[in-house]
């Protein structure tokens, strides 16, 4: 074999490399790395924690817990009034605090998904979508303006009925999300998947849920590794925008790598006997308190519906 000969530039002095000088005193790449690391860490820890799984809700038999929570979620979609929704939210919030969820955890939850829902529902508050009494005038257009055959109103306004339906939608979403979060935070992920399967969820869904949870951790770890490898070869600083651009461009590479890793995780699970049904340590059978929990959930929804219709 021929002895490799290093090129001349390889031995250039390190204090005078070719190319533009990097900007001094500039930290780079840290926000993205921090985000990836925190996400991977949070997913690796799973959503549940011992303080919640040992709480009163954590001790409810998982199948009974799922049935009760699903009844409450279904109920949240049935009740229309803001009052009934507010009562349900108050009870859900009290339950969340009683199982040890911190206001910070709830705040993060509510900042994410309900805000996204708000962004979706906001256009429906305008008189362009929902007619009604004007609550706030946003923009005077003047008379006779039209787009094609569509005649625009003289002013774009937020209507009271639009605000009411947006509030209802937002409260309903917040209730459903908080209830779902109560369920996942008070139950270990494998126990939850196992309970869904015992309730008749098809095997393929259980397998997808199990693998998705494992895959997300692997995906984020692979992203962090790729980003670290890039950082180790970055000499000059780069802006957050160019870092974000790089993340976008790297998605394909990341997908390929995480697919391979995900496949390895699947092999490792199958090799130890996983056949699509995730078995967990024995869960105690149904007890009286589980029946009481389901009855309480059903009773609460019935009360809210009766109060709304006849109250």
């Amino acid at each position: 074999m021929k002895t490799p000969v290093l090129p001349e530039w390889f031995s250039q002095p390190v204090d005078n490399p070719p190319g533009p000088k990097p900007r001094e005193g500039r930290r780079f790449g840290l926000p993205i790395r921090k985000t990836l690391a925190e996400l991977a860490e949070a997913l690796a820890r799973e959503m549940s924690s011992p303080s919640q799984t040992n709480s009163w809700l954590g001790k409810i038999e998982p199948r009974a817990k799922i049935v009760g929570i699903l009844m409450l979620i279904f109920g949240a979609t049935l009740v229309h009034g803001l009052g009934a929704q507010m009562v349900l939210l108050g009870i859900t919030l009290a339950a969340a605090l009683s199982i040890g969820l911190s206001p910070r955890q709830l705040g993060r939850l509510w900042l994410g998904v309900p805000l996204f829902s708000l962004a979706i529902i906001l256009p429906s508050t305008l008189n362009l979508v929902t007619d009604g009494r004007t609550a706030l005038t946003l923009w005077h257009l003047g008379a006779g303006i039209h787009i094609g055959s569509w005649n625009l109103p003289e002013a774009i306004t937020i209507t009271a009925s639009g605000l009411l339906s947006a509030g209802r939608f937002l409260l309903r979403t917040t209730n459903c999300i908080t209830l779902a979060f109560l369920m996942v935070s008070s139950t270990d992920a494998p126990v939850l998947v196992n309970a869904f399967r015992r309730l008749g969820m098809p095997k393929a869904f259980g397998m997808i849920l199990t693998m998705t949870q494992r895959f997300l951790v692997v995906l984020l770890r692979a992203a962090e590794e790729i980003h670290l490898a890039k950082l180790s070869r970055s000499i000059g600083g780069s802006s957050l925008r160019s870092e974000q651009k790089w993340v976008g461009a790297g998605i394909a590479i990341l997908f390929r790598r995480s697919y391979r890793l995900g496949l390895e995780v699947n092999y490792a699970m199958v090799s130890r006997g996983y056949d699509g049904d995730l078995r967990v340590a024995s869960v105690p059978g149904l007890q009286i308190r589980d029946g009481l929990w389901v009855a309480a959930a059903g009773g609460l929804i019935a009360l809210l519906i009766v109060w709304e219709r006849f109250g």
């Binding site: 494998p190 494992r214 890793l261 092999y267 699970m269 090799s271 130890r272």
Partner: protein, 275 residues
């Protein structure tokens, strides 16, 4: 020699992209053997282990494990599927992929739980495996936060909790510090004494010299070019050179370069005629 555990009959394997993985490979492995699968990078060692573990299947030829042909159907149909998974353990090269639970305890319980062992038995096995590998202090730790050596120990413990008769090890010494490597060599010897069959894929010749009695050598064109005693294989420099397991190494002595075969990590002496 005892009954064969694995009989591999003229198998051919191609990857989904059409590239060749293995070509006409055949051998058999008996109980309580310690066999090394040697080969250069991309020669098909890991693929062969995957095939032996019923994780993928040959395009042609067949693999018989415990007297039954390994097919997608047979490894998914009870009772053979459960017996097979219980009897064959796989230590993956990438511990990161192998450790997917949130704590070490859950990791160790995963296999026995999937094999439907009773709760008391699962707990006993988890405790015993933790004690055996001296990792009781790691019980509640997330596997992702452990060092490379600790991860390897947890991965091994998670397999041992299933009490397998055969353990497939993919590059087990890769990334381990010398002390953990020595510990692994001694642990593998203990497993041999207990009657476990060990099949190790590696290109670390010094590790293989200490752990395996028989060697299977795969060439770079994915064929089996040697099946015999490991000692003989490791002293056959022409064979090792042709399989790219050693390379001609350049040295400069007294200002003159010279070439000679170089065994990684095996000490060699220079004589005047080498110059």
């Amino acid at each position: 020699m005892t009954e064969p555990i694995f009989e591999v009959r003229n198998i051919h394997y191609s990857y989904p992209d059409g590239s060749e993985g293995l070509s006409g490979v055949g051998f058999s492995i008996a109980g309580n053997e310690s066999v090394a699968i040697l080969g250069a990078n991309a020669s098909g060692k890991s693929t062969l282990l995957n095939l032996l573990d019923g994780l993928c299947f040959p395009n042609r030829g067949e693999i018989i494990a415990f007297g039954k042909v390994l097919t997608e159907e047979s490894v998914e149909t009870p009772p053979f599927s459960r017996q097979f998974r219980q009897q064959v353990g796989f230590l993956f090269q990438n511990s990161e992929a192998q450790l997917f639970n949130s704590t070490v305890e859950e990791e160790l319980a995963f296999g026995p739980l999937q094999l439907r062992l009773p709760a008391g038995e699962v707990e006993r096995r988890v405790n015993d495996a933790l004690r055996l590998l001296e990792i009781e202090n790691l019980r509640d730790r997330p596997p992702q936060k452990l060092s490379g050596g600790e991860k390897k120990k947890v991965a091994l413990a998670s397999i041992l909790a299933c009490a397998p008769r055969v353990i497939l090890l993919d590059e087990p010494s890769a990334g381990l510090d010398p002390r953990t490597q020595q510990w692994l060599i001694e642990f593998m010897a203990e497993l041999r004494h207990a009657g476990t069959t060990l099949i190790t894929a590696s290109h670390d010749l010094s590790f293989v010299a200490e752990t395996s009695e028989r060697a299977l050598i795969l060439s770079e064109d994915h064929r089996l070019v040697y099946n015999g005693p490991a000692g003989e294989a490791l002293s056959n420099l022409d064979l090792l050179l042709s399989a790219n397991l050693v390379h001609a190494h350049t040295h400069i002595h007294d200002g003159k370069p010279h070439l000679h075969p170089h065994l990684h990590e095996i000490w060699h002496e220079h004589h005047p005629h080498n110059k």
